[in-house]
């Protein structure tokens, strides 16, 4: 009886987690988790993540439920939620599998004013200092662990900053040395950068202006001055969200682009910005990291490119972005190859109405839904863990170990390209080139196939050098011999003829 009950509960959990009903309505993929193959077609995949928990306002025993929360931040075991609609920050701690509220941060001692007005993002550093984007108070406020005011970052009094604009900080990141990078609404020159002491030191990573030749010709020659004044000028677009990885590079997402730009990788919805603000994201796949490649959907509302609202970078440089259009989460490896994609729109656990923020704790993912005011906690399944294990082993240099792990991945998902490439690389190191070629061919990996093939060809030539030489010699010499023979025969005939004539 007990076993029966466990079985029924397990079934319920499965249904809850994978949500087959939701997937069927979707009309897009028949599974919750999927990936794209070489041709850009959807390949169903085992679940890489499952819903471990959903944090509701009631889970945290909140008196006023969360309203329009905008952002998450994770530091060690603490989850900070910017509860924007209630003008507060929630600090939640993970104890084992429970999530408990540590404190509600509503005021900062010693600040003027002490309260927040629509705080849209929160950040915490290693010492426990908390930074909050206090949007409508036009400041980024920094407090220590006991919520005493330390310093605030306000509108830069600098000629490069348009003083007529109000300073509306929207998102922020803080690096290890305390430099603050702020993404502010209406500022299109890039991220506003402050030193640790609060001085403004300029902008970095402006989104380059995209302007087509046709636009330029049209605007310069075919519009009057009045028309031009009415149209929006060519300005760089703002980023949607930012995240700082362990190495201090800022990952930024961008949701303002034309679909045409997306096709030719001009839109770059995900960027990795270096110190001078250039995009250094590695893209080694056939498709750049843009979220969904196919946009087929029944409802017109959900048609269109993925709009990546937020991004987080795991410790192994795998980055995960969340899409607002279809409520999906995409994982990419450091080479820009999609590891998995999952999620859908809906009310079920594991589906989102309006996902706005994503964070990670170890390999677990936290995803904040603005309208549902919930945080969904995802934890990797065995399949998801195998993928992480294989790529970690490969990065560490344990190529044979990673090949074994990739073989286990293939047992769970025979359509996984990365596994074929991983096994192929290990085989190539073991000098079984022919076999490696087969694996690379499965994954359509031309570069690696070419490399394996060169070795294989070399081997083939070296082992058959006798035959090759023999054939070349035969081809060169046999015609010579035949010609010589004919010549001699003619000479003999000539001689005989002369003999007869004489």
């Amino acid at each position: 009886m007990k076993r029966m009950l466990v079985f029924v509960m397990a079934c319920c959990l499965c249904i809850m987690v994978t949500g087959p009903a939701v997937a069927a309505e979707d009309g897009f993929s028949s599974t919750y988790t999927y990936n794209y193959d070489y041709w850009g077609d959807i390949r169903e995949s085992p679940d890489a993540y499952r819903v471990e928990d959903v944090i509701y306002s009631t889970t945290l025993n909140l008196e006023t439920p969360m309203r329009k929360p905008q952002s998450l931040y994770v530091r060690d075991q603490d989850i900070y939620i910017a509860d924007t609609g209630n003008n507060r920050i929630l600090q939640v701690r993970k104890n084992g599998t429970d999530y408990t509220l540590v404190r509600e941060i509503r005021t900062v001692q010693g600040a003027t004013p002490e309260s927040f007005d629509t705080p849209s993002d929160v950040c915490a550093d290693a010492e426990g200092n908390i930074y909050v984007c206090d949007t409508n108070h036009n400041r980024v406020i920094m407090m220590d662990r006991d919520l005493h005011f330390v310093r605030e970052y306000v509108k830069p009094e600098d000629s490069t900053f348009d003083q007529n604009l109000s300073f509306l900080p929207n998102k922020l990141v803080v690096d290890v040395s305390g430099r603050v990078f702020v993404l502010a609404t209406n500022v299109n020159k890039g991220l506003v950068k402050y030193e640790a002491d609060g001085t403004f030191t300029g902008f970095i990573g402006a989104n380059p202006v995209t302007l087509s030749m046709w636009d330029y010709i049209w605007k310069s020659f075919f519009t009057t001055k009045e028309q031009r004044a009415q149209q929006a000028s060519f300005v760089p677009t703002e980023y949607e969200n930012i995240y700082m990885d362990d190495e201090g590079f800022i990952y930024a997402t961008n949701t303002v682009f034309s679909e045409y730009d997306l096709l030719y990788d001009a839109a770059k919805p995900i960027r990795r910005l270096n110190g001078i603000g250039n995009d250094i994201l590695i893209k080694n796949d056939r498709y750049p990291p843009i979220g969904d490649i196919q946009w087929v959907n029944d409802s017109a509302v959900e048609y269109g490119p993925s709009k990546l609202k937020d991004i987080t970078v795991l410790d192994n440089d795998i980055y995960v972005a969340v899409d607002r259009t279809r409520g999906r989460i995409f994982g990419y490896d450091p080479q820009g190859i999609m590891l998995w994609a999952f999620g859908t729109k809906g009310n079920n656990a594991g589906a989102f109405l309006s996902a706005v923020s994503i964070e990670h704790m170890g390999h677990d993912l936290f995803c904040l839904d603005e309208n549902e005011a919930t945080v969904t906690v995802f934890t990797p399944t065995d399949y998801g863990n195998l993928i992480y294990k294989a790529s970690d082993e490969y990065l560490k240099g344990d190529y044979d170990g990673s090949a074994d792990t990739w073989r286990n991945v293939l047992k769970l998902n025979a359509n996984y390209n990365l596994a074929f490439i991983g096994i192929g690389r290990a085989l190539m190191r073991q000098e079984s080139y022919k076999e490696a070629m087969d694996y690379f061919k499965m994954a359509h990996d031309r570069q690696n196939y070419g490399r394996a093939y060169r070795y294989y060809r070399k081997e083939l030539v070296e082992s058959n050098i006798g035959w090759i030489v023999a054939i070349v010699v035969a081809v060169l010499i046999i015609p010579l011999v035949i010609r010589r023979k004919k010549q001699m025969e003619e000479e003999v005939q000539e001689y005989e003829r002369r003999q007869i004539a004489r």
Partner: protein, 225 residues
Amino acid sequence: MNAVRSQDNGNARRAAWGRYKASLRYGTYVIFHPFDGFWDLIHEKRGSMAAAHTFLILFLLTYVLRLMLTNFQFVTAPLQYINIYEQAASFLFPFLILCLANWALSTLFDGKGHLRDIYMAMCYALLPYILIQLPLILLSHVISFDEASYYSVLASVSIIWCVLLVFVGLMEVHDYSPGKTLIFLVATVFGALVILFLILVFFSLLSDALGYFVSLYREIVFRLN
């Protein structure tokens, strides 16, 4: 009597076969000496329609084989989706329509070529593609991805060569100046579009007309019952 006739027939067949072989072999002369070659092809009757058909069929075969048999490092066609007849038709029909459009336009503007001359010249102009792409299929299985430049250079040579031959071929067939040929090449494309439009209109009218008779028949049957 019978024996003599059969011998005559045999001789005639052998002569025809010889002419056919000669006109095939003449293709290699045309692609290396296009100006002389195309002139003689038409005006000295060195070419034959049989050889032209052969070249066209070989071209279509090469076109399809290239997609199917080239190593995946160089040509990656989604073989699970493509239909080889469709692929062949996607070349054949535009090719024939362009020949027709070119003939239709050039007859109005004192082009010397007949439709069969244009078709023959166009088919002969396809020869470099066959001669280069067929060995390239074999080559693709011998070279690796790092040596792809050899492959791509040869592949583009085959296409550029064909385009130049088409240009020279049309020039010689119609006895046009280079400038006039260029203008007619562009005009031919528009002409082909017009032909396509006419075909579409014809079929839609045809289906409307048929629909009318079908509904008329139904009406009568309905009334009679």
